[in-house]
Amino acid sequence: MIKSHGFAPWLAVWQRNFLVWKKLAAPSLLGNLADPMLYMLGLGYGLGGLLHDVNGVPYLHFLAAGTLCYSVMNSATFETLYSAFSRMHVQKTWEAILNTPLNLRDVLLGEWLWAASKSLLSGVAILLVIWALGLYADFALTLALLPVIVLTGLCFAGLGLAVNAVSPNYDFFLYYFTLAITPMVLLGGVFYPASALPGWLAAVAAWLPLTHAIELARPLLLGQWPDSVVLHVAVLLGYGLAGWASGLRWTQRRLLR
């Protein structure tokens, strides 16, 4: 009999996804970068030209933090919805893995950390552009964006896995985009300060995780340490962990009944 050496089982799942990604790295990175860049530069210069400064900075600078968080959210969401669904439901990759010593917890942990890793890459790609264009006030503070990106990735990857677990098909994801992602993009402060919203809408926005990611990221780019860091971190972590735990439970119910 072969002796298995000590290893983290989830890492085998992470590595599997990494190997697939490596094959398509160039188009994947381009896709991650192109969409948010068009938003940021198109709106930043185009709309920014019509606007006075927003909160005392040029609109493009203001938009950078929103674009960064939005891009991380999108990357984690697409990976845990469409890609994970293909592996779970269409390709039966997870079922094949479950016949090995790995269990579903290992699979979902690997998927969660993989999606967060992939969104970290998207975030860093945007950050490189932000650095290159000089859209920041204090370079040292922008380094604190890295943990914000990781946290945002974990948050939306966890939520995505929960949605994935209950989806009968790809079309179902539209509900999540319409009811959760789009409101977050429009109310969470990507394009304008959340303070511009009337009270009741601001109250809704305060419940959305993207709002909290942006509340952390924007001051860091504009040269200030954010307010209420603990609250924002707790909200992102809470959504991420709750999403992941529900995702695990619901996927167990789906595949292992």
Partner: protein, 306 residues
């Protein structure tokens, strides 16, 4: 050698309905054990319970000396599984599929890479090592799935309908592979809907229906115990109308579709009667020895299970 798999009083219910209902099963080491049953008889659920993927409502599973589901991961490290559905990774080549699957067992890279040439040779896929999965035929995919199940050099291999959807040539290649595994001393647990496959490969067959074991023995002994030695199949336009006459010459006569199955230990009188009546009554017929399919149909009935 110890018992590779032992199921005792296994019970699994869904929505109050027992899918596996007090099932006992004991595999002998180094043998091929067939698990036969109509659709919905509980075969796949039994395999999932035996692998520790799901927990039984009652009863015990002992897999390679470990109590499941608690020690499932440890036990599965020495088990290979060929699932019913194709689950090869379409994003990888043949070689990468084997390599990535080996990692799920925590096997060292050097061990996996040293093993891959043997597995490719076993599956007859040496020339396809770097081919994408989409370029493989159905038979090649099944052979690769079998090779993938061997990456951890398992003692026990679960095969859930390994040849469904394959042409006869491809099936023979799979059978050849399975016989080589038996020659190496591996234990096989096989589910199949092909009775010739079970008859050919299995040392012992358990027939289950409604989650219960209804018969268990070697294929030869099952045939001897449950059905008459010879079968005369009568078909053609007038076959069903001829049933009363057929019944006078055989021990048991069943109609299925437009065919009469006449079971008898002494077929001569029936054949003589058919020779006289065939032309006028619009009958055609053939005589053959009874086989496992006759046993299966007798035990589980001819009704369609959907």
């Amino acid at each position: 050698m110890s018992v590779p798999l032992e199921l005792t009083g296994l019970l699994k219910c869904y929505a109050g309905q027992a899918v596996v209902d007090g099932l006992d099963l004991r595999l002998a080491p180094g043998r091929c054990h067939g698990l036969l049953g109509p659709n919905g008889a509980g075969k796949t659920t039994t395999l999932r319970l035996a692998l520790g993927l799901i927990a039984p409502d009652a009863g015990q599973v002992r897999l390679l000396g470990h109590d499941l589901p608690d020690a499932a991961a440890t036990a599965r490290a020495r088990v290979g599984v060929v699932p019913q559905n194709d689950s090869l990774d379409p994003d990888f080549t043949v070689r990468e599929n084997l390599r990535v699957y080996g990692r799920y067992f925590g096997l060292p890279r050097a061990f996996i890479d040293a093993r891959i040439p043997d597995l490719l040779a076993f599956a007859g896929l040496e020339s396809k090592a770097d081919a994408p999965i989409a370029s493989l035929s159905g038979g090649m995919k099944r052979r690769l799935t079998l090779a993938r199940a061997l990456i951890n050099d398992p003692e026990l291999i679960f095969l859930d309908e390994p040849t469904t959807g394959l042409d006869p040539q491809a099936r023979h290649l799979i059978w050849q592979g399975l016989r080589r595994l038996l020659a190496q001393g591996k234990t096989l647990l096989l589910t199949t809907h092909f009775m010739d496959e079970a008859e050919r490969l299995c040392d012992v067959i358990t027939v289950i229906d409604h989650g219960r074991r209804i018969a268990e023995d070697s294929p030869r002994a099952l045939i001897a115990a449950h059905v008459e030695a010879q079968v005369v199949e009568v078909f053609g336009e007038g076959a069903l109308a001829w049933k009363p006459e057929a019944q006078r010459h055989c021990q048991r006569c069943e109609a299925a579709g437009e065919t009469l199955f006449c079971y008898t230990d002494t077929p001569q009188p029936l054949l003589a009667a058919l020779e006289v009546a065939a032309a006028d009554a619009g009958l055609r017929y053939l005589q053959r020895p009874a086989n496992l399919e006759d046993v299966f149909l007798k035990l589980t009935g001819r009704d369609l299970r959907d």
